[in-house]
Symmetry: C2
Subunit: 428 residues, 2 copies
């Protein structure tokens, strides 16, 4: 059952990418491949195979090969995205669903984009079981813009608000809140280099605090809340930027959840805010209109032009997470990856060290150091040669950091662990 | 000099997209095209031609065909982008320049993205001849966020600032400025339905106004400044969102220029601010850190994660505008398109009407109505059938609007004009 495709040519023919991708049956031949002769054998069961005599140059790369030549990207954010999501985005970049337009070109008030943002919201609500008494907003400016928007929208300048500071991001959120409220740090892990989460009983909450703010996962320090404190008086507010949609969360425990998209759910430029509806509508008079949740809620995030393409990408990721079976399944995969990596560190007899208290180690961001710190630069350089990139720790803490978000495949962590053992064998 | 590629096959072979794109020599065959037999003739001078017997289904669409099946998109923004730019973005979406990553996945502090944002800024500086005494910022939140950021950064609450209101956007900018300054409307075109620009001599500027704000092109009303007023006291500030990079501009006349990217230079989610360096550093205490130009300038727009993919797309557009010969050449093309369309309106003996005073008609946004307004819905519907979409006027003014930004090809305007003449013949 084999058919033969032959090129009999005395003169050169330039075609795109000498690969048969048997999944979607596309025939692509590498750019500037000088074909002198080639033949394709096809078999419905086995898929394609190709033989060809060709001299090639690697760039510009195209489809199938893109995905083969991808690195394992351990960046803390922007971070790796699911390969199938990127491929889908690529296939419809110039013409979305036969609309004759790219998503980047669509009016944000047209039926095409409205269907995209509405599906994105519906899928996110399904993933996190978000009830109708919460509003979901797709905004801009990153979590850092929310550091101001939260006190501006939720309290008056004379109101007290509490911050539990378990890392750099919680600290930044607190400092910004000082401009718009009587904000107070009721616990800080700074003296212990942000390696712990306090016991909730020990927290001395301000009796009349309007909200209690936490950073659910500290990207730089790798400290993650496994459970959540109960505010004595007000509501619980959480920055979930770096563990958003990495596991199930009981949204009803929170008054407000916010997250930059660029870790687990999309590209940078989209910030998601999930807020209880009864908390909307109390913005201070000095609040910029774009930071006013009431304006954004009344306009379904379309008061002005939203980051349409970013929202579209988030929608593709949400769809993919649902297809994986939802956040319970995603959490299982994330635990498996994190266990593999933390075990490799803990079983290295001190060659590798993770400073974070075991019970609160992040499933997303794994910081570690070398006992022989003089080898850290080599570790990062050699890993990069093996196509494992962005392993350098944040400039404020040094060492290494492996961010293993939803989209990091198990194979990436397995490869890293194998490399770590090999590196240790060579440097112990 | 012809060579022959033949497929002799008794059984079916699924390939991707039955098109030979002779510009980049890529062989793509339509998805689920059932090939029974085909042959390709190639000739180095004439490029490729293809004959094949195939039964096809249209989706999912892919490369070459995407561009053939694109509509003419007259949306006011997000708006049409250059087809070659979209195609380049598509080709490198999964793997940028062999980095093994999508631009969406890159750390904003890594060398790859830094090279992207630095080239984007350099190319923009070249396009507009921006000197070193101006800072260029790539921000988020749209022009609407700048409506607040401008007074917050440039003046104190007790300072006077003047606004010339030639349309809805200028009016929104004025209203937001009232929160942070003593802002005053010194001229408004509202009573004349925003169809005029005032004579500059007639402007009664506030003697101690810290700045004079204009909207260089009103997207909704199609009114464009052809020259710029001189502020008596302070600096000139201009919202150029909808005519940014559509023609040369003498940046030195302005203290601050700002623009949302989603009309002429990229997707939504990127806002460009060009500000004279001596004006940076005076933000009011209540300014959210993300809106503080000093923080953004000191961090080269990387205080937090910027909208990386949007900035990359803007960079591709800037590169394309330079390749076209720069903004003088771009302006020539825009004038030719606008003349063609306005002439068709003016020569229609009143069948089509543009309310805007001729001397200040926008080269970018062309609003028009039908003398027989009962046919406007048909006009829009029939045009859409002819693959000319988004011609409905803004809900606040009705009628039609054709936005003909840089990326709208002359062929799109020619097709619209031909349709207008045909429609008139059928309805006169």
């Amino acid at each position: 059952m084999a058919s033969k495709l032959t090129l009999s040519s005395p003169n050169s023919l330039l075609l795109q990418n000498p690969i048969i991708h048997h999944q979607n049956h596309q025939l692509l031949l590498k750019p500037t491949t000088k074909m002198t002769s080639f033949s394709i054998l096809t078999n419905k069961v086995k898929g394609f195979s190709i033989k060809c005599a060709a001299t090639t140059t690697p760039t510009p790369l195209s489809h199938s090969q893109d995905l083969e030549e991808r690195v394992f990207n351990f960046a803390a954010g922007p971070a790796t995205l699911p390969a199938n999501v990127l491929k889908k985005a690529q296939s419809e970049l110039c013409n979305w669903h036969g609309s004759g337009m790219s998503v980047m070109e669509m009016s944000h008030r047209g039926k095409e984009f409205l269907s995209i943002i509405q599906k994105a919201e519906a899928d996110l609500r399904a993933l996190l079981n978000i009830t109708e008494d919460y509003t979901v907003l797709f905004l801009q400016g990153g979590a850092t813009t929310q550091f101001a928007a939260i006190p501006l929208n939720l309290v008056k300048p004379e109101d007290s608000v509490d911050y539990v500071v378990t890392g750099s991001w919680g600290d930044k959120a607190f400092k910004e809140a000082q401009k718009y409220s009587k904000s107070k740090v009721i616990w800080s892990g700074k003296s212990e280099k942000y390696t712990k989460i306090p016991s909730f009983d020990s927290l001395e909450q301000t009796p009349d605090a309007k909200y209690l703010h936490i950073c659910a996962n500290e990207t730089i320090h790798g400290v993650e809340f496994k459970d959540y404190p109960d505010p004595k008086n007000g509501i619980l507010v959480a920055d979930m930027s770096s563990n958003f949609c990495s596991k199930p969360v009981d949204v009803s425990k929170f008054g407000l959840i916010y997250a930059g998209a660029q870790k687990n759910v999309g590209p940078s430029g989209v910030t998601i805010v999930i807020i209880r509806k009864d908390l909307v509508g109390n913005a201070q008079g000095i609040t910029p209109v774009m930071l006013d949740y009431k304006i954004q809620a009344e306009n379904n995030s379309l008061y002005n032009t939203p980051p349409c393409y970013g929202i579209y990408m988030c929608g593709l990721v949400f769809d993919d997470l649902l297809a994986q079976g939802g956040l319970k399944e995603v959490e299982k995969k994330n635990k498996k990856k994190a266990d593999l990596l933390y075990n490799a560190i803990d079983e290295s007899k001190g060659f590798y060290r993770c400073p974070v208290e075991k019970s609160v180690r992040s499933l997303m961001n794994v910081p570690f150091t070398l006992e022989k710190s003089e080898f850290e630069a080599d570790f990062i350089k050699e890993a990069a040669k093996e196509k494992m990139v962005q392993l350098k720790g944040h400039r404020s803490v040094g060492g290494m950091r492996a961010s293993i978000y939803n989209a990091m495949p198990l194979a990436g962590v397995e490869k890293l662990v194998a490399f770590m053992k090999d590196f240790q064998a060579r440097h112990a």
